[in-house]
């Protein structure tokens, strides 16, 4: 059991001849101790989480009301209020029960995607393990919110909704809709990263800049879509008296 710390790989700017491919992100170990290893994906996820938490703690330490409000506080308030409105509109729920999940997913994916403008930062969302972990959160959030809102009977009733013959199809769609969320985020981020890498081999300095600015737009849209789809799927089972809305 040898304890080894090697951060030199973190600074490596990915090039086309090596470190490209589906597994490359998870195979670079920064800290290894026997079988236990911390790779770039995990380390960068922790970095993103630490950034969000530190920023939130620093901003919310001295909150002001009506006057001398800092810019960061206005930013966070705008973010929370906007997402609250979006989640309420999409789920047509009366309370803010989806806000926590949507805000957590949105902040993590948004910060991870926006940090791609640092050249040697490998976004954790471009690894299949991270996006599948996020999709697993949504997968367990769906029955949680459904049972909370409509009870166990209401949740199970969803699977035989048009008729009992549709039971296998409903189960498949339940699994694959969540699987598609993870794959979508992964595919979008990976295509952006790899496209920038391949272009930088042909036309360095000019073409990757344009592609990365496009990647910032794609990344923020993907963060919004992931949070919104999580709310849409979680609110698919509603209370009995409410008329369901198809989106």
């Amino acid at each position: 059991m040898v304890f080894k710390v090697d951060f030199s790989k973190w600074w490596d700017i990915p090039t086309t001849d090596k470190q490209i491919g589906l597994e490359s992100y998870d195979s670079i170990n920064l800290i290894s101790w026997g079988d236990f290893a911390i790779n770039v994906t995990i380390f960068n996820s922790w970095l993103v989480i630490a950034l969000i938490v530190l920023f939130s703690i620093l901003v919310t330490r001295n909150l002001k009301y009506e006057k001398d409000v800092s810019k960061c506080q206005i930013m966070l308030e705008t973010l929370v209020l906007w997402l609250q409105k979006e989640a309420k509109d999409t789920s047509s729920a009366k309370n803010n029960q989806y806000l926590g999940m949507a805000l957590g997913l949105f902040c993590f994916i948004m910060v991870a995607n926006l940090l791609t403008f640092i050249p040697w930062f490998r976004p954790p969302t471009a690894s299949l393990s991270t996006t599948m972990a996020l999709a697993t959160v949504v997968f367990f959030a769906i029955p949680y919110f459904a049972i909370k809102n409509a009870g166990v009977k209401g949740y199970l009733k969803k699977f035989i909704e048009p008729m009992p013959l549709m039971l296998p199809l409903n189960i498949f769609s339940e699994i694959f809709s969540v699987l598609a969320m993870g794959l979508r985020l992964f595919g979008n981020m990976l295509s952006g990263v790899m496209f920038a890498m391949i272009l930088s081999a042909f036309i360095p300095f000019v073409a990757p800049l344009l592609m990365q600015s496009l990647g910032l737009l794609t990344g923020s849209i993907q963060a919004y879509i992931f949070a919104l789809l999580a709310v849409v799927y979680s609110s698919s089972v509603k209370e009995y008296d409410e008329q369901s809305e198809i989106i």
């Binding site: 491919g21 589906l22 509109d89 794959l183 979508r184 595919g187 879509i225 919104l228 789809l229």
Partner: protein, 90 residues
């Protein structure tokens, strides 16, 4: 032609065809969705924000089919299982 050349050529060709055909339907569908959403926004400017958010969700869903094609193309190019098989045979 040895097995390396055949596997390499077929992988690249397959990835290109997969991307081309796979993105075609998704692009057509996304174009129709955007056109319909813009028409709806022009007719009802008050509902523009709701239409926009719904449009983004629909676009993301349509894009998934192209992304599946992309993943298969990546799989054929960078994580081809037959490539390792050919190496182990020789």
């Amino acid at each position: 032609m040895d097995s390396y050349a055949i596997i390499g050529a077929v992988s690249v060709l397959g990835a290109c065809i997969c991307m081309g055909i796979g993105s075609l339907g998704s692009a057509l569908g996304e174009g129709q969705t955007a056109a319909a959403a813009m028409q709806a926004m022009a007719q009802q400017p008050d509902e523009a924000s709701r239409i926009r958010s719904t449009m983004f969700v629909c676009l993301a869903m349509l894009e998934t089919t192209a992304l599946y094609a992309l993943l298969i193309a990546f799989l054929a190019l960078y994580a081809n299982p037959f490539w390792n098989y050919a190496i182990s045979q020789n």
